[in-house]
Amino acid sequence: MLELDGVTSRYGPVTALQDVDLVAEAGRITAVLGANGAGKTTLLRTISGLHRADAGTIRFDGRDITRLSTDQMTRAGMAHVPEGRGVITELTVKENLRLGALGRSTHRDAVSIDDVVDLFPILGDRSNALAHTLSGGERQMLVIGRALLATPKMLLLDEPSLGLAPRIVSQIFGVIRQLVHEQGLTVLLVEQNARSALSIADVGVVLGLGKVVAQDDAAILAADENLRHAYLGY
């Protein structure tokens, strides 16, 4: 589904990704792990076109997308849920959701705003409130719900559990699993918490200082003590 070949990304003199090869297979959850500053966010930004790769190619669904713009990527079926502030705070909750549906790619059965409200009832209660009045956790629900409205083929999630209560995290992970199993959604999941990410993922990729240091079945990575100590911190 998604294939990176020798991708390098720089910020001026800083090389954030170096020669990254990575495959995220269709209908599976691939977790990207690594310490702070390892390049996880840069990886997602490079894939979705927010940051231009300095070298290498990215293929999505059999098509070279290395030079596509972000909005083209979205319409091709890629939904990027960015790290932190992904809501448009000056718009209402409902307007944020409507925007998600506008970027819809028609690859799966349409998700409606009502479906999203069923998942996260708070979004229905606060429908007409400006998004800047939401709490951090509510904002996270809003950006994930908004991404689902676009009915993407692939979801790029940057630390979706950040600042959320464990119960909400397992609810969100449950929803994602369900979409993966029932509709064949493909997920690239960046997580700080390696243990919980590996528990829901099929495959894990470990980044260290911008390079891929391991790529294997999630269960095998989770069992590798040395790797856990060196890169995953548990």
Binding site: S48, G49, L50, S69, T70, D71, T74, R75, A79, H80, P82, G86, V87, I88, T89, E90, L91, E95, R98, L99, G100, L102, G103, R104, L130, H132, R146, A150
Partner: protein, 291 residues
């Protein structure tokens, strides 16, 4: 009686300032640029209308043609110039729009001449009268007030009720997230400049009606329209409208009771007082956004 007439005069003038301020706000919201070239852009489209009228075209056809020209001019300026400015450096766009101001002036003087020419009014210029008293409200000023209200209502409808308007607001507030959501941000920016330029052109045509035009006939409006936009918070379309009306009425009162020489000073005083009391403008709604 004089008071009522002064206020009536200020009202239609205020509507024109409001339209001009609204055009500034539309551009500020989407690109964080104060478009100093807006007055000469409006001046150019007004001269286009005048040229068409003098060549025998129907007034209203020329009026609409000038607005269409404003749309095209706004889109071209964004597409060919503004797009390539380094927005991280705040002074660059300012210098660029000031440069455009000078260039458009010079070009207009060459093409249309730099002498005063009279621009026809769409309707009568004598005030309505009841019995013996004549009010300072002419059919043309009624038209001015109504068309500005109509344009504002249409814009409000566009931004609040349509998908296109929603994508334009999204791109103005947060370009990166808008892109992630599939919005073609470049297009919405071009459209934003085009629409702002239409509104600016409208204010140019309304000021010209029944008066004289000249390459710098709009320059006074720049100052008052800009003050009106700042009064409204620069970020708020509704604020621009209220700011415009406030400027129109205040300046009309000053001119009527204290003398027209004091008008520029009065504009400055209003600006300073409002900014002292409410630094974010009268209608500031900005949240945690940093500029």
């Amino acid at each position: 009686m004089q008071l009522i007439n002064t206020i009536l005069g200020g009202l239609s003038l205020g509507m024109v300032y409001a339209a001009f301020a609204l055009a500034l706000v539309l551009i500020w919201q989407s690109t964080r640029i104060v478009n100093f070239a807006q007055a000469p852009m409006a001046m150019v489209t007004t001269f286009i209308a005048l040229t068409l009228i003098e060549s025998g075209m129907n007034y209203w056809v020329a009026f609409v043609a000038a607005l269409v020209a404003g749309f095209v001019l706004g889109a071209l300026v964004e597409r060919l110039i503004i797009r390539y400015v380094d927005h991280d450096n705040h002074i660059n766009p300012v210098i660029l729009t000031l440069g455009l101001f000078i260039v458009l002036h010079a070009v207009a003087a060459v093409i249309f001449g730099s002498n005063f020419q009279s621009f026809p009014a769409p309707f009568g210029l004598t005030g309505f009268s009841v019995g013996d008293t004549t009010f300072n409200l002419t059919p043309t000023s009624v038209f001015t007030i109504l068309i500005v209200i109509a344009v504002m209502a249409l814009l409000r409808l566009l931004f609040l009720k349509t998908d296109l308007g929603l994508t334009m607001r999204a791109a103005a507030f947060n370009q990166e997230v808008a892109r992630i959501l599939g919005v073609r941000v470049n297009r919405t920016l071009t459209l934003g400049w085009a629409l702002a330029s239409v509104v600016g052109s409208l204010s140019g045509l309304l000021i010209a009606a029944g008066g004289l035009v000249h390459p710098s006939y709009m320059d006074g409006v720049v100052v008052y329209g800009f003050v009106a936009a700042v009064l409204g918070g620069l970020d708020s379309p509704a604020g621009a409208v209220v700011g415009g009306l406030l400027m129109g009425v205040t300046l009309s009162l000053v001119s009527g009771y204290l003398g027209s020489g004091l008008v520029p000073l009065a504009a400055l005083i209003v600006l300073v007082v409002v900014l002292l009391v409410r630094p974010g403008g009268l209608f500031s709604t900005s949240t945690e956004r940093t500029v």
